[in-house]
């Protein structure tokens, strides 16, 4: 009898546990369906609205919600996609491919779509629906830019004054005499900076411009992928990909130090600024511009004070690939005019665990950071183990805002396009 009661109790407990587990699984499944596997602050939802091939990089969205995507690898011999949700079910099922070049940069403004290959910048006139009128005949605005494999992509953004800003990444890690060679010193008066390692400014209404027609707007930037124009203070902001491999000077830097140095920096850029690459790097612990070992640095000596300071210093090597100032009204007040940064994720932290694979947020007021940065959307990697191993499922790259104020994030590993929304 006693035994039977016990067994009954056990059964009730078991069924409760089972019911609990089922409920938990249901909630987990449901919440996963509402977040597409991402973790975000309360009230935010996410879904994958499109799956593409060709490794989508930067992204632009029309006023009616059509999506343009620049591809890193060709799909059906084309490097640009327009995605449409014609049946209005929230999935972008219609894909139109055009443009016979790969690249990263893409920007939409005032009825023109701007896109870059790794050597040139093109412009497409749009019709009243913001659809490309002549996909096979874009205007060539800029051509002949330095592209030597490394840091070859040309990110771009416009100001409100008829200018386009184009990143020309340095085809080098740290301007060594022999790139990435153990102990190789820096080239004196780094010649790379004459044609790369900075942001160049061109006109949006002049064709076939190159170096003679352009202006070196800012220099000393190793490679910039994420950049945006801050409408509040009418100024350019960029995210630099910081230098790799301080371990090439093993007597000064071990792999643990290399994993944490230097900071990934956000800079506010004014005409004529010099951010200091390859001569200095920013140490987020000493909060100083430190002389690079290729130029006589020892991890402590400070570099020239003429170089500008970052406005935000993020952890090392996380590879910021997208920057977007949020000007929408859907998200809570704290996000208004703040910066979202898409981190592609690190590789140069090995053998230490890799980091990144998330979208960060920095609150801004009047064009200046007004608080600490925070992780906004995480979980792109699929699991902490996949992130640590540097083998994530998804890698955040491009950012754009939809007409309703939702945030779009591209993933250039598997080709997902995420839409992140907020429900009051």
């Amino acid at each position: 009898m006693k035994l039977r009661i016990k067994s009954l109790e056990y059964k009730t407990k078991l069924s409760r546990v089972l019911a609990g587990t089922a409920l938990f699984t249901l909630i987990a499944l449901q919440s996963n369906a509402q977040t597409a596997g991402l973790t975000m602050p309360a009230g935010f939802k996410a879904s994958i609205v499109a799956d593409t091939t060709g490794r989508p990089r930067h992204i632009a969205i029309t006023k009616k919600g059509d999506i343009y995507v620049k591809l890193f690898r060709k799909v059906k011999e084309k490097g640009l996609l327009m995605l449409q949700d014609k049946d209005g079910d929230g999935k972008y099922e219609t894909k139109t491919a055009f443009g016979d070049y790969i690249g990263t940069g893409l920007y939409l403004k005032d009825n023109y779509l701007y896109a870059s290959s790794d050597e040139a910048v093109f412009r497409y006139k749009l019709d009243a629906n913001e659809h490309v009128i002549n996909p096979n005949k874009p205007d060539t605005l800029v051509k002949g830019l330095v592209s030597r494999k490394q840091h070859e992509t040309k990110s771009l953004v416009l100001d409100n004054n008829g200018n386009i800003y184009v990143n020309i990444g340095a085809p080098s890690n740290s301007c060594q005499i022999k790139d990435r060679q153990m102990g190789s010193l820096g080239q004196p008066d780094c010649p790379i900076l004459e044609t790369a390692g900075g942001i160049w400014q061109f006109k949006i209404d002049k064709f076939n411009q190159s170096y003679p027609e352009g202006v070196r707007y800012a220099t000393g930037l190793r490679n910039v992928m994420g950049l945006d124009w801050n409408q509040q203070n009418n100024t350019l902001f960029v995210m630099q990909h910081g230098r790799d491999q301080l371990t090439m000077f093993p007597e000064l830097f071990d792999s643990k130090l290399n994993a944490e140095l230097p900071a990934e920096c956000m800079y506010m850029i004014k005409y004529g600024d010099n951010a200091g690459w390859p001569y200095i790097y920013f140490d987020p612990f000493q909060k100083k511009k430190i002389l690079a070992p290729e130029y006589g640095g020892d991890g402590k000596k400070e570099g020239d004070s003429k170089f500008i300071d970052p406005v935000v210093a993020f952890p090392a090597h996380m590879a910021p690939n997208g920057l977007l100032f949020y000007t929408g009204n859907m998200f809570p007040e704290k996000y208004k005019n703040g910066a979202f940064v898409a981190f592609h994720g690190s590789w140069n932290r090995s053998p230490e665990p890799q980091k990144g694979f998330m979208v960060a947020f920095v609150p801004f007021k009047n064009g200046k950071p007004s608080g600490e940065w925070e992780v906004f959307a995480d979980g792109f990697a699929g699991s902490p183990e996949k992130a640590a191993a540097g083998r994530p499922d998804h890698k955040p790259c491009g950012l754009a805002m939809g007409p309703d104020g939702s945030l779009y994030v591209t993933d250039d590993a598997k080709g997902a396009i995420y839409k992140i929304s907020f429900n009051k």
Binding site: F72, K149, Q150, H151, E152, K178, D179, R180, Q181, M182, S184, D244, Q245, T247, P250, S255, N258, W347, N348, S350, P351, A389, G390, R391, A413
Partner: protein, 150 residues
């Protein structure tokens, strides 16, 4: 039920015992590693791993998979498993702009001629027999022959 457990236990003990007794046997060729034979021994593999972790791991990564679009993978590629002199030359002279299985990689592989012939033989033997690779070892003599050719 119990019998199966017991059988399994006996089998596993047998395996672990044979594995243990095998170890010293495997060690024998290690002494000859630096001579003509290209033996893939635990000692050579251990030395190769030290070199790999010091000079290779940051780009090629702990699993040898490299970094998409940036640093080449070294898992079952023809460069790693193919001609030994060509592979030795990649270490001595570096490599850049070579597509691997249709994918391009943007970063340069710098020359590692500063490594000793022993270090190169060890690390290549390690790479050719790790990350799912299986191929003959590389000897000091083979590295020396390529280095002295110039």
């Amino acid at each position: 039920m119990k019998r199966t457990t017991l059988t399994l236990l006996i089998i596993s003990i047998f395996i672990s015992v044979t594995a243990q007794t095998k170890k010293p046997v495997a060690k024998k060729p290690a002494a000859k590693a630096s001579t003509a034979s290209a033996a893939v021994t635990p000692t050579v593999m251990a030395r190769g791993k030290v070199v790999y972790n010091m000079y290779c791991i940051s780009c090629h990564q702990p699993d040898g998979g490299g970094v998409p679009s940036m640093n080449a993978p070294i898992v079952k590629t023809k460069q790693v498993l193919g001609s030994k002199p060509a592979l030795i030359n990649i270490i001595l002279k570096g490599m850049s702009g070579v597509d691997i299985e249709g994918e391009s990689y943007s970063n340069v592989m710098p020359a590692h001629a500063f490594l000793t012939n022993q270090q190169i033989a060890d690390v290549l033997t390690y790479v050719r027999n790790n990350f799912g690779n299986k191929a003959s070892g590389v000897t000091v003599a083979e590295v020396a022959a390529v280095r002295n050719k110039k």
